[in-house]
Amino acid sequence: MATKKFGIVLDAKKCLNCKACTVACKFENTIHPGEDDYRIWVTELELKGTYPNISQEYQPSQCQHCENTPCASVCPTKATYKSPEGVVLIDYDKCILCKACMTACPYDARYENVHLHAIDKCTFCYQRQPEGREPACVETCPTRVRVFGDLNDPESEASKLLARNHTYQLKPERNTRPRLHYIK
């Protein structure tokens, strides 16, 4: 494969709503506790039905690493950019904190990191790439909801999952072409 294309395939049906991923992300990426300070979240979707016929699902999510990248196009200093593998990253030194990217992101994936003095969001734990390690949220999950990998490599576990299952993306109408794929 010429270039890698990183992405995550999620099987949200396996999610326990245990929050291991959200806490792991905070330590891996030095994010302090705080109401708005998080890169990743696990939503309890609306309860369906009334007692006793009810069902509930959980939806873990984070920055979608959109191929069509609304946040990057509005960034005046190119602080938000894409890595060769298509990971959407932020050069914190260039961030002027105009917050245009925050308002542009259809997934509310960005927040102001007070300690970095810049906008921050999920990076697929890019700092782990040189060592070939999985992102923290992927690695720590008790039930392996997320599978991270090179979607250009048909042999990667992520590609295989994608090929084998029906999947969907969040907010397809925004035409962002997310790199997070949810198994139906």
């Binding site: 396996k14 326990l16 709503n17 245990c18 330590f27 705080g34 309860l47 008790p142």
Partner: protein, 771 residues
Amino acid sequence: MKLSRRKFLAASGGAFAAAVAAANLTSLKAVAESGHGDAQTGEKGEKHIASSCEMCVNKCGFYAHVVNGRIKKLNPNPRFFKSRAMLCARGNAGAEEPYNPERLKTPLVRDGERGSNKWRKISYEEAFQIVAQKLAEAKTKYENRSSVAFFSSEGLQEGSFQMLAQTYGSLNTVRHPSLCLSSTIQGWSSVYGVYPDADLANAMFVVMPGANRAEALVTPDSMDFLRYRPKGQQLVVLDPRFTNTAAKADKWYPVKPATDMAFMLAMINVIINEELYNKDFVANMTEGFDELKAHVQQYTPEWAEKECEIPADEIKWCAREFAKYAPRSVIYPGRRTSWYVDDVAFRRACAIIPALCGCWDVPGGIVPKSGVPLKNPDIMYPFYDMVEERLDVESFGEFDNNLPDDARKEAGLPTDSVAYLGEKDGSWIRFREAVLRGEPYPVKMMMVYKQNFVEAAPNRAKTLKMMEMMDFICMIDIQMSDTAFYADLVIPESTYLERWDVVHSLAGIWPIATFRQACIEPVYQTKSMFEITGGIVDEMLKIPELWDDTDEEELEYFKEDFVEAILHAPIQDYIKYQVSGFENGYEKLLKDGVIYKTDQGVYGQSAKPGYRFKTRSGKIELTNVKYPDKGLDALPVYRRARQPKDGQFRFILGRHGWNTHTGTQNNEFLWEIQKENTLWINSKEALKLGIKNGDRVVVKSSVGEQTVKAEVTEKIRPDCVFYAHGFGRVSKGMSLVYQKGASQAAILEDYIEPISGNAAMHETFVTVSKA
């Protein structure tokens, strides 16, 4: 007597020394190579150190990512197959524990009324002197070493605390199981002789009565039931509450509380009457089938439907499916089972079903736990004259277990003795009752290792009353827990990331052993329980009155073989000895954090014909052989439980995946997930009471009341209410959760399961009204 003890001791002590010497030679080299030798020196640079988690009982392995002497992150250890190489929210948040602004940093002695939160800082040496002095006072004053009670919580350092208890010689040790799982241990053991596991990674049909594996994480079950769920596996969950586990189930039966046994008995009825059971297995491996068959005739599915509100057809379906997939079918044994006053009988009923269908010790069935063989030195403590029997054994005559419907209500507060008491565990509620009565002898002093009974044990008012009766209370913990808050002396322990802990075999289908090594230097020069015990014992040895009721020679041996050889030696020596049966065991531990014989599941050890089970008959006992000796039912007998009256709700307990009991709420990274608990109340009932989501409500039982926000939900039966454990705290030293939300201990009534001595915590009825 003395001679033979000494002989045995010499043998084991010698082996201990030899093994340590041998291990030292190889390990020195290995340490130099692996670079782990500098594990304790702090300083610059990055490193990854293998150790294990202490945020709950599972002890999951991790590699601590240490940057410039500070823990940055804990990452799951890929070799830790028991947890399927994961680390949960708490395990991750553990990285904060050494730096928690509210951790205990130095020993504190009370400097005002109990509970006034006035403390004076003292040194560890002073603290050890105070403890030794107080222990001596108790011995002299009451002439009974058992007048000092030793409460402890589960953990790799609990053994160090037990060393202190045994050195002192008190028989009153009170551990956590009787606030937790002693009834399921007793129930399953009464059938199989052991408390087994369920193989969720291979089972095709799983019945989970009440266990909440999605939120109360148990390795590897919580991982397996979703991650390695075999294709086509059916999961049936019985729970009055729609837990995250119920959300994952193929069928959720909102069972009427305290009637689960009816469901199980009816399943047995169907399996036997429709001849779905495994005839060979029953004939070869079990005892008492005919009695069982006769006994369950009364328990038809139609009868059960009326009791447990699960349709008869569903019960039949479960029985047939269970038998269809046998032996890959399980009834899940569960862990915290301190539910009802007849919990052991209920667990017996659960255990009988897989036995009927031969789901024993095969993949996908019920499987006895295996362990990793470790060596543990036999320590011979001196015999003392001034010691009395445990307080909670048979001190008030036999307990009549055959409670008729009304008597169960009347005897709602059973204080009689427990039929099968864990020798070292005791029965918590029973123990407190005896202390309060002061019979048969007074207990006047408490040594507590991390057991936060003020919030963990039902009926907080009584617990506080018991504490008031104490001459002296010493607490060892890492934060100012509620129990520490009312203590006289608080000794900080190092957090698990700052200390070395002995090796522990985690028994199960996939046995693995782990330990702890210090990932960082203690941030505040704190000590481990092992060092604390060493310090206290040293001080004790300076006080002659403490040793005048034992044999001098024995005492000398004790000093030599225990105090010198173990307590005064580095704890690493102990660890080396434990793994001396493994080639390069110690080096492996340092590098991998784990040690094991195989990473495959261990099955079939006890499935061979002729195998002798640890029951009286040596077989799987469908009908228990020894119970009738104590006047207990040989077979599970269903007695209709009390149910809440109009206007009352049954208060049920539980927790969420991001907190463990009362120990983790004051960690900011977990606290921000849930800042206070809320009362779950069924939306229809809430409507009747005029309660809206978010309203503050008063929850009141006969022993206390709490005010808490209501969460109006579809996720609970109309006759139950629930809030999570660990909130509404009384310790000002836990400022994040101090008086936030509601406490369970404050409103729980103190019922007891009389066979195992387990607390019965789902027997409290409450009223709910707008605040």
